[in-house]
């Protein structure tokens, strides 16, 4: 970690900010309206707050508003009060209690506060929660702090000041130099130095240049870009405005996934607001600088995250990548010089201009400066959105920020970088999170998706999942990617079906290396990574599937059977009632039995059982048969 005393802690600023604090005292209640919280019903909680506050007669003392993703998604739906109290897991019916106890009488309601998994202690102030303590937020500086639909709140936090400085006091070369000096590298995955990219686009001679924000966040398990667009759309717009000045582009596009309706809605509003105030349009800040921003909705193709495919898609064609060179900086959108950066990169730019390259450069590891936002998901105690300085170890991210593994289970691996990335096992937990160190393990930083899996996850099945995804999303241009991944998937299918053969692992490795070598773009070039890294670190699991026909994690359906432990079964009949195929029999208060011939292995019984009596068995039957055969031969 970086030195506390010298490092700026953007979070500390957040404490002193006046945004949302009511001028005349009283309370503000901010209900998180990030995607996860909306899924968990935060809009109903918001409505309940508005109603309860009104009914309690506190309407003139309490402001209720929404914010973008606050980060701690595992507590959703989340509400934050102006004394920094964080309430989670709220239901609309609980709101009355919070309003009455806390807002009226000033007593925090214990049971909705964050509970530390280790000590069991309730923590009121969200700054004291381990999840937030270990973070340094730059790209996410205003996400979860301001109302994303209010330009005024963004301005109150110093918004558009960096763009004003850049456009009115700095030359184009100075801006590019500043970005280069900060050492920031593309946050979309490839990690190309942003300053260098800008320089290329700046040097290209053309009457028309374009600027693109890549918000086609297709990686399953990644939602940083989504959260930034939903929580702080103006930061991205301001970053692009600075970029447009540096490069000399007057037209910009934001290519955003149509699967993020909330992000699209807020971004549309933000662009309209910025245009109305003159931050976009024909005469920005009265300097005569023109910059127009357009929204382009993706139509659901993972490969469009690749820059040349994205350009083809904006042009209205099939989103297929093309060979580079010519690079987009020379010939991009409509054949003109184009600069493409990721959402997170753009969101960092205003901070770099406002605080100076040196401040940004202080953070991070040797060749990877600054911070990186990650979306933590999977079997973690604290899932959500986190931003840490580059060079923090995986252990810090997973155990300090993420709070360790849920339900006290064992850490098995962390999947980084989605379908292009790889799995890093427990033995490599002290790997620093930077571009080079992670590449050495076979994984990548990627866009920042981090999915943690525990001992209940089958690595072969996980590899198969990712390969199925990339196989589906392959645009079909390059034969190794189109057919190679298909053959690899068939091999993996065979293995999880229990029909794996000797030599399958070697076959996967061989095919994988061909796909990597023979593909034009990064999709094919990285598609085998999840398979190759799981073979590298979890070869024994593959071998168990192939040789013993056993799934060590008890996940692969063809290799498992369900049974009820008669010792633990209390005969409550719940599983029998819930079983969709009615294959569980047994009298009340007597141990139940599963008819394995009828069982469809839907896992319902195991999930509903309150006594952990339903167990999964894998391999021992096959092993017994094998042993018997051996006995015959002997």
């Amino acid at each position: 970690m970086t030195d506390e005393t010298t490092t700026p802690r953007p979070h500390d600023d957040a404490r002193n900010v006046s945004v949302g604090e009511r001028p005349g005292g009283g309370w503000t209640v901010k209900v998180c309206a990030g995607t996860a919280c909306v899924f968990a019903g935060s809009m109903a909680v918001y409505d309940a707050f508005v109603q309860e506050v009104r009914e309690a007669g506190l309407a003139d003392q309490v402001d209720v508003s929404i914010i973008g993703c606050h980060g701690l998604c595992s507590m959703s739906p989340v509400a934050v009060l102006s004394d920094d109290t964080l309430y989670g897991h709220l239901k609309p019916r609980d709101v009355a209690k919070v309003v009455d106890e806390h807002l009226r009488n000033g007593r925090p309601v214990e049971r909705f506060l964050y509970k530390d998994a280790q000590t069991g202690e309730r923590i009121r102030d969200w700054h004291d929660i381990g999840f937030y303590k270990a973070q340094t937020r730059i790209a996410l500086r205003d996400v979860g702090v301001i109302d994303p639909e209010s330009l005024d709140e963004y301005l109150a936090r110093g918004g558009y000041e960096a763009a004003r400085t850049a456009l009115t006091t700095m030359t184009q070369e100075q801006v590019i130099q500043e970005v280069t000096d900060s050492g920031i590298r593309g946050r979309g995955g490839a990690g190309f130095p942003t300053g260098v990219k800008w320089k290329f686009a700046h040097q290209s001679q053309s009457d028309v240049k374009y600027l693109i924000c890549n918000a086609d966040e297709g990686d399953p398990g990644a939602f940083m870009d989504c959260s930034i667009l939903e929580g702080d759309p103006h930061a991205v717009i301001e970053g692009m405005l600075i970029g447009s000045w540096a490069i000399g582009a007057h037209e910009g596009y934001v290519y955003v996934r149509a699967e993020y309706p909330l992000a699209v809605k807020r971004l549309t509003k933000a662009v309209a607001d910025a245009e109305a105030r003159g931050f976009l349009g024909g005469d920005v800040f009265g300097t005569g600088w023109e910059f127009n921003l357009h929204l382009k909705l993706g139509a659901g193709a993972f490969v469009c995250g690749e820059e040349t495919a994205l350009i083809a898609s904006i042009e209205g064609k099939r989103g297929m990548p093309r060979a580079r060179p010519p690079f987009p900086a020379v010939s991009g959108l409509w054949g003109r010089p184009t600069n493409i950066n990721n959402v997170e990169t753009w969101a960092n730019v205003p901070w770099i201009i406002a605080h100076g390259a040196a401040e940004y450069n202080k953070l991070g590891a040797e060749n990877s400066r600054g911070t990186k936002a990650f979306s933590l998901a999977g079997k973690l105690v604290n899932g959500g959105l986190a931003e840490v300085p580059m060079g923090s170890t995986l252990r810090e991210v997973i155990f300090d920020v993420g709070g360790g593994i849920k339900d006290g289970r064992e850490f098995k691996a962390v999947q980084l970088g989605g379908p292009s990335g790889g799995c890093v096992p427990a033995s490599l937990l002290d790997t620093p999170v930077d571009y080079e160190s992670l590449a050495a393990t076979g994984a990548i930083v990627g866009s920042g998706g981090m999915v943690v899996v525990d001992d209940q996850t089958c690595m072969v099945d996980l590899a198969r999942f990712f390969l199925q995804f990339t196989q589906n999303e392959s645009c079909g241009k390059c034969v190794p990617c189109r057919l190679g991944t298909k053959r690899m998937l068939e091999t993996l299918d065979r293995i999880v079906e229990g029909e794996g053969r000797e030599g399958d692992i070697e076959l996967l490795e061989e095919l994988g290396s061909y796909v990597v070598e023979g593909s034009l773009c990064a999709l094919g070039g990285t598609a085998p990574n999840p398979v190759l890294t799981t073979i590298k670190y979890f070869r024994d699991e593959y071998e168990a599937h192939i040789r013993e026909k056993r799934c060590p994690a008890g996940k692969c359906k063809a290799l498992i059977t369900y049974y009820i432990d008669p010792e633990l079964c209390t005969g409550c009949m719940l599983c029998a009632k819930k079983c969709p195929t009615v294959c569980i029999s047994g009298e009340k208060k007597q141990p139940h039995v599963i008819d394995t011939a009828e069982c469809i292995k839907c896992d319902t019984c195991r999930q509903v059982c309150k006594f952990d009596a339903v167990k999964v068995r894998s391999g021992d039957l096959v092993a017994a048969v094998a042993a018997a055969c051996e006995g015959d031969e002997g």
């Binding site: 993020y260 382009k296 139509a299 993972f302 099939r318 999930q607």
Partner: protein, 253 residues
């Protein structure tokens, strides 16, 4: 002096040799089977028409981008197997009112929206992309139907067949997969009596899988219309869908 003799020797040596050039175009040589030349479209000898179906595959795959396909094929979009189309679907297909497409086309003429945006708008109008609508767009905009077909089959968002009233999107992102999204889809398949990606015969529900929705901490999640559901189990999924089926009066299968 010496150089002149050398040149003479060279000339004399080649005089009795076989000629390597031919008097084109009067004379022509037969080229080896795999030699490179110019492209031309193969003509089907049986009917004298080109075999090219304007699929644009060559256009999009050419490494040096020298091919442009700019003519609409006389071949139509593949007709779905008629035997498998239920009455309800046929009724929906016939009910395409092209008047509804006018605002989409107006938008194109006024603001120059791109092809993808236009198809998205058309899908918003009809719920899917009816063939007649695609033909109309091609006719009105001059974009070859082949290209429109290419684009509409490339992106996951576009559907070429009608969908049910309620679309059930089950998230199959990494976190949801690890948390058991497969079992959720299986439970829905069983309750609805249709496979993933298919529509019930009464046109009430379409079951589909989508990539990450970004609500990973609530995994596994699904979305039915505007309603979102998180933290699902196969059991709770069955309850939700049974209630919903009862509400809209849907039948299984």
């Amino acid at each position: 002096m010496l150089g002149m003799f050398k040149a003479m020797r060279q000339t004399l040596r080649h005089l009795p040799m076989k000629k390597v050039t031919v008097q084109y175009p009067e004379e022509r040589i037969t080229l080896p089977a795999r030699s490179r030349g110019l492209f031309r479209v193969v003509i089907d000898p049986s009917n004298g028409e080109p075999r090219c179906r304007s699929c644009t595959l060559c256009e999009s795959n050419c490494p040096v981008q020298v091919i442009r396909v700019n003519h609409t094929s006389k071949y139509r979009l593949p007709v779905p197997n008629a035997a498998r189309i239920s009455e309800a679907r046929l009724a929906a297909q016939q009910g395409v009112d092209l008047k509804d497409l006018q605002p989409v086309l107006d938008e194109f003429y006024e603001h120059g929206t791109g092809l993808i945006a236009m198809l998205q708008d058309a899908q918003d109008v009809y719920g899917y992309l009816p063939r007649v609508a695609l033909q109309e767009i091609s006719l009105q905009t001059g974009v070859p139907l082949s290209q429109i077909y290419g684009v509409s089959t490339f992106y996951n968002q576009f559907r070429l067949s009608p969908v049910g009233e309620h679309i059930i999107d089950v998230c199959h992102g990494t976190a949801c997969h690890v948390a058991g999204a497969v079992q959720i889809t299986e439970a829905l398949e069983e309750e609805l009596g249709v496979a993933d990606g298919k529509t019930t015969s009464d046109m009430k529900f379409t079951l589909s899988s989508v990539a990450c929705m970004g609500a990973c901490s609530q995994a596994p999640v699904m979305r039915i219309g505007d309603q979102t559901y998180g933290g699902l189990t196969p059991d709770s999924t069955r309850r939700i869908i049974r209630d919903l089926m009862e509400q809209v009066g849907a039948t299984k299968g």
